[in-house]
Amino acid sequence: MLSKINRKLLNMSDRSIAWLFTLPTIILLIFINIYPLIWSVYLSFTNFKANRRGMEIKWVGTKWYEKILMSEDVWANMQVTAHFLFWTIFIQAILGLSLAIFLNRKFKGHELMTTVVVLPMMLSPAVVGVFWSYIYQPQAGIFNYIINFFIDFGEFTMIGDFVLAPWSIVIVDTWIWTPFVMLMCLAGLKSIPDYLYEAAEVDRASKWQQFIHITLPSVMPFLMLAVLFRGIENFKMFDMVNELTGGGPGSVTELASIHLKRAAFEKWRTGYSSAFAVILFVTVFGAGSIYVKFLNKLKEK
């Protein structure tokens, strides 16, 4: 019997073997990814509420999509998300690249310094949210103390002020994730062969020219990959912001993900939240695809 199976396996084509190996993963993916996705698309056209047992599910057409796209509040959430995305990525890209260039130099203790710099990345974002709420505490927190040490602003609150609160979450996210961008850039810097710089030296290229024509183009694909990861991650950012500001004050830090969570698991508007999740998915998927195409073109160059 066993030899029969062996013979059959040996006679299989490469294509069949490939299918045999990938089929379990494909089946698993269908059950845990594709099926829920299709199901949530279906739910987005219904009035379904997950907390109502035995509720009759009614088809509501595109009602939720229209409501979401016409809602001032949802657009405000999207603006908050865009602000958070843009500034975190922008600052992290600059700081991450600068740190990588700095740590790429072989100086005494640079290995220890690299380890220390990446520490924030190893913490849970929810935990970070909680302890930064203490750091931002206006009376006892160290943040206000440091700021007031340099410039005396008096009493001010980072997470309670509607102007400062959006920046408070940008600062914390930058603190956690700049090391990640730095590590990616560092990998790019390490991959640049020394002879390129030597040739540039021979050609009497200045340090700035070496940076523009050698360092930056070599690091750019790594940096852009880091930006892609950070973009996707921050688009669905929830835990840190939820712990730190809870979306407040008012709704000035209510990211799309917080709005989605409230609709799905507090109001239990499953149909509505499914529609919003689909819209977010299409947005991320579309933006991600365009970005990856751009990234590939850059790599080809």
Binding site: N47, N51, R52, R53, D73, Y136, Q137, P138, Q139, E155, F156, T157, I159, G160, D161, F162, T245, G246, G247, G248, P249, G250, S251, V252, R262, F265, E266, K267, W268, R269
Partner: protein, 441 residues
């Protein structure tokens, strides 16, 4: 030898485990769910008498307030059997009744001679009935509560402060009778140095996530005559929710938040208020009566340093209802034992002991006792408050009504977005949308 020893150890473990399981299976017990806070400890103490008299043990699962509603409502929605008895928030009564989570208690009350007339009417209305005000009971009033105030009696008694206050405002520094007076006092203390430390005016509710800012702001709104709907036309909210007086009440609460709360008080509920008060930062604090026994015995602010007063009046009387009723969960396999607990809990003797231990009884035998008012310094305030309480919507879908109110109020009060009128107008739009979806409009 080693193998024998291992075998023997395994056998012994199995015997012990098996016996303990058998003992647990034979033991009669019920599980009671409530929030994790001071009164829960008093209930544990009280329930020992129940076990003594019936032999039924009571197990408890107390959930922190931040997760209380999520945990309990999910349990009910899934038809969970974890709890036999639940002390659920007053707003849950509609959902508990309509969705079949709670056992209707009318027949049981009739059979056991438990009369709702023995309990304070507003608590029966608030904690037990659905539809509201009808004699359909789904809970026994278990823990009366309302949003009220504490103040630093020792600061109020300082002659130099009393003199300065009278000079500035023209009347004596006493616990405020109106919100206007409360504002004067808050402004007076805000930023003032007392005993060498900078102090602030008030700690009020401003929390965004669950129900905090709604519970706080409605304390002011009710005093300005805010109503949820037309008294005779259900769900007609225009002109009531956004009445000119309601707008004034909301503006007032924002002014109080802006002028007189400690820095960083932008997301504060029960615990944050307690922290601000007990650490000596503020002169006054709003909070639930449930915390007052603890404050009265607090080493920093208790033992005579704190006074208590009910929610101030303004254009009318009003206070935000807290508290809970105790219900039998319909999915429980031990409903008979749970009902025995309710029968025991409803007796006047148990209710008297409940109050003594720190639980706010709603039984008239306790509240009507001639010695009640003087039994605790906050007893008079509690009685006053319970006569003027109002509750939030208690519809089965109250969470969907609560969250928009949280958003609109926080946007306006803390987030400085728009005007009070705009916030209340938008709130009506949100609520109308929910009522339309639920087929009420």
């Amino acid at each position: 030898m080693k193998v024998m020893l291992r075998g023997f150890t395994l056998f012994a473990l199995l015997v012990v485990f098996g016996l303990s399981n058998l003992a647990m299976a034979k033991e009669k017990y019920i599980t009671l769910g409530w929030a994790a806070w001071d009164p829960a400890n008093a209930l544990v103490e009280l329930s020992k008498d129940f076990t003594k008299s019936t032999g039924i043990k009571v197990r408890f699962e107390f959930v922190p307030w931040t997760n209380f509603a999520d945990r309990m409502l999910n349990e009910l929605n899934q038809g969970g059997k974890t709890f036999d008895l639940l002390i659920g928030d007053s707003q849950w009564i509609g959902g508990g009744a309509v969705n079949g989570h709670y056992v209707k208690l009318n027949d049981f009350f009739d059979k056991e001679g438990i009369s709702m007339d023995d309990f304070l009417a507003p608590t029966v209305y608030g904690y037990s009935t659905w539809p509201k005000g009808t004699p359909n009971y789904y809970a026994l009033p278990a823990f009366g509560d309302a949003n009220a105030w504490v103040y630093r009696k020792d600061w109020f008694a300082k002659p130099e402060l009393r003199k300065a206050f009278k000079k500035k405002y023209g009347y004596e520094l006493e616990p405020p009778g109106t919100w206007t007076e409360l504002m004067d006092i808050a402004k007076f203390f805000h930023g003032r140095k007392i005993d060498g430390k900078k102090r602030y005016g008030v700690a009020i509710f401003s929390e965004r996530g669950s129900e905090g800012i709604t519970m706080g702001a409605t304390s002011a709104l009710y005093a300005w005559g805010f109503r949820y709907q037309h008294p005779r036309i259900p769900y007609k909210m225009k002109g009531y929710v956004n009445s000119p007086n309601a707008v004034k009440g909301l503006e007032f609460y924002k002014e109080l938040y802006d002028c007189c709360t400690p820095p960083g008080h932008s997301d504060a509920y029960m615990m944050a208020d307690l922290d601000a008060y007990q650490s000596g930062q503020v002169a006054m604090m709003m909070n639930w009566y449930a915390f007052f026994p603890g404050i009265h015995k607090n080493e920093n602010v208790g033992f005579g340093k704190t006074g208590f007063f009910s929610n101030p009046d303004q254009l009318s009387k009003g206070a935000t209802l807290g508290g809970q009723g105790i219900s039998v969960v319909s999915y429980s396999d031990k409903k008979d034992l749970a009902l025995q607990y309710i029968k025991w809990f409803a007796t006047p003797e148990v209710q008297k002991k409940w109050w003594k231990l720190g639980g706010y009884s709603c039984h008239k035998a306790v509240l009507g006792d001639p010695g009640f008012v003087k039994s605790q310094p906050y007893a008079q305030g509690f009685l006053d408050s319970m006569q003027k309480v109002n509750d939030f919507w208690q519809e089965p879908f109250f969470v969907e009504l609560m969250l928009p109110m949280q958003k609109r109020l926080h946007d306006y009060i803390v987030g400085d977005k728009g005007t009070a009128k705009q916030a209340l107008d938008k709130l009506i739009e949100d609520w109308e949308e929910v009522f339309e979806e639920e087929g009420k409009l």
